[in-house]
Point group: C2
Chain length 324, copies 2
């Protein structure tokens, strides 16, 4: 059973990514859905189940009963035993606790294991991706928010359960308001949620930008990673300015983490990180440099090798770890 | 041999603290000397040997031959095997590599083990001090600089050898110049070296302060921790303003470390930390609060229990670990 076909679901603030993988973690099929922006946890769970069924079909399987289990990487506070998720602030009406595991398991008819979204994506990069040959790394997931997973001696460091909040490193005392309510966090400058809020404010103040025209043209309701990438490609002034600030904030925050932990590698993933890709990973690396205390042997800074699918593949790894 | 009388030396940027401890780490004698501000590493080593001899006498021992060994906690990059120290920037003319262990061993006639000053002080707090009952903590040493030692699952986390540079967490992008040459680090606001430079600048610009009068009155050439404490006691405006900034910087930097690592405890030590004591530990705790991402279960924040002697006691612990 530990070597069978499994499903993985990466639940993000913007999209739901699903995969079906075989015993060697090869992706047999995948599907993606937009994360519902309204409704509540039950609607999100229904969208997740729908996307997983699509991936099952794409993998050439008859139905989800063919799966040994499904793993889910979720934001918020995850109770792995109970299968519940609490306080997932970037998801609609999800301040309380919702039994995501039991709900999906009932819907899809197979066992479901839940873990932290960022940690499962970091696990996947360490086991199968950019971090295969190092013993310590931080995975930085630059998306709707900025999360991180820390691996020390090839094991996750979770602290009292909530480690990895690199996005809430203070890089500017008294600085910009963060979606978390505090001031001057990395995420206040770099999270896609905060970036969109800043762009909307500047746009409403009359700053010229094509960001929102591009959004409408491509039939989106949010500034997705693709919209940012397109705006940067066409040298949109506001997009460049805000992404410059984001990179500066990420560079300072990641360098501070390296000064504290002296890790071998930084892996950059997440929706924005993966979409903007290698040139922006190099810009983050350059932005770290001025702040590194030991500056003659900087850590290796790499793009997440598993790309967009890393979170879902990492989630699928939970099946063997947790359910068997 | 592992249960015998040992010496410990804590080499700081301002003072050299020595102790003689028995098998249960009880302090039998201690002595302190000012760290030479001129000369070079050989002069510092001679001052260390002199202070250790004094402590030996204070312990009622005939001479250092009665010791099983001596441990040294040193700033800079320590090569434990070779007994060398390199790049100790806060010590006079110590940019290169000096064989501190062999030099002291030859002078004092007993084996000498060398470790990182901050790490040995953190070890001592975990084993014998405030951290006896927790499994993870960060020891923050607020003195000439701001250093830290990290204990995870009751073991030191050293990274690639240089972990613990909490003092170089960036808390204000583009902020004050740090003694390390970078900008906006915690130490740029909180280190005693930086505090003195800021005070001198403000004094030369005509800002009213008694800091330098107190320094002369007490026959010092630097703004020592005691001078800062006296100035604060008499409500000196500049001293209060600069220490307020220092506490704000420490609060943001420590909170960022907690957001990243979710540790159980913060132990505040170091020359300034110990001299200013519990009321200032409480102020640091309050300054952390607004930045803690998980704010309903903050870490325990404690004053170093071993006080001024923690570094030297921790250094003495090296003898059993390293030499036997």
């Amino acid at each position: 059973m530990a070597q069978s076909i499994r499903g993985g679901i990466d639940l993000g603030g913007t999209k739901i990514q699903t995969v079906i993988v075989d015993e060697s973690q090869k992706v047999l099929g995948s599907a993606r859905a937009a994360t519902p922006t309204g409704g509540g946890p039950a609607d999100v769970a229904a969208a997740m189940a729908g996307a997983l069924r699509e991936a099952t079909k794409a993998a050439g399987l008859k139905d989800t009963a063919a799966l040994a289990g499904i793993g889910v990487g979720s934001p918020g506070a995850v109770d792995e035993k109970a299968g519940t998720v609490s306080g997932a602030g970037n998801l609609p009406d999800w301040a309380g606790t919702f039994p995501l595991g039991p709900t999906l398991s009932k819907d899809l008819g197979v066992p479901v294991a839940i873990g932290n979204d960022v940690q499962v994506a970091t696990d996947a990069e360490l086991l199968l991706g950019a971090g295969r040959e190092v013993s310590s790394l931080i995975g930085v997931f630059w998306g709707t928010g900025v999360g991180s997973g820390i691996m020390l001696d090839r094991r996750p460091w979770l602290g009292r359960g909530a480690a990895g909040e690199l996005g809430h490193t203070v890089i500017k005392l008294g600085g910009a308001r963060c979606p978390c309510g505090r001031r001057g966090c990395v995420e206040a400058y770099a999270g896609r949620g905060a970036l969109e809020a800043r762009a909307r404010k500047r746009d409403s103040e009359g700053k010229a930008t094509d960001l929102f025209k591009l959004m409408e043209k491509h039939d989106r309701t949010r500034l997705t990673s693709s919209i940012w990438a397109r705006a940067l490609d066409q040298k949109d002034g506001l997009a460049r300015e805000l992404i410059d600030d984001a990179i500066e904030a990420l560079g300072a925050g990641i360098a501070s983490a390296i000064n504290l932990l002296d890790l071998e590698m930084v892996v950059i993933g997440g929706g924005l990180g993966v979409r903007l890709g290698q040139p922006y990973v190099e810009r983050i690396e350059l932005a770290m440099r001025p702040h590194l205390f030991v500056d003659d042997r900087p850590p290796d800074v790499r793009l997440a090798e598993l790309g967009d699918l890393g979170g879902a593949i990492g989630a699928a790894l939970l099946v063997d770890k947790t359910l068997h």
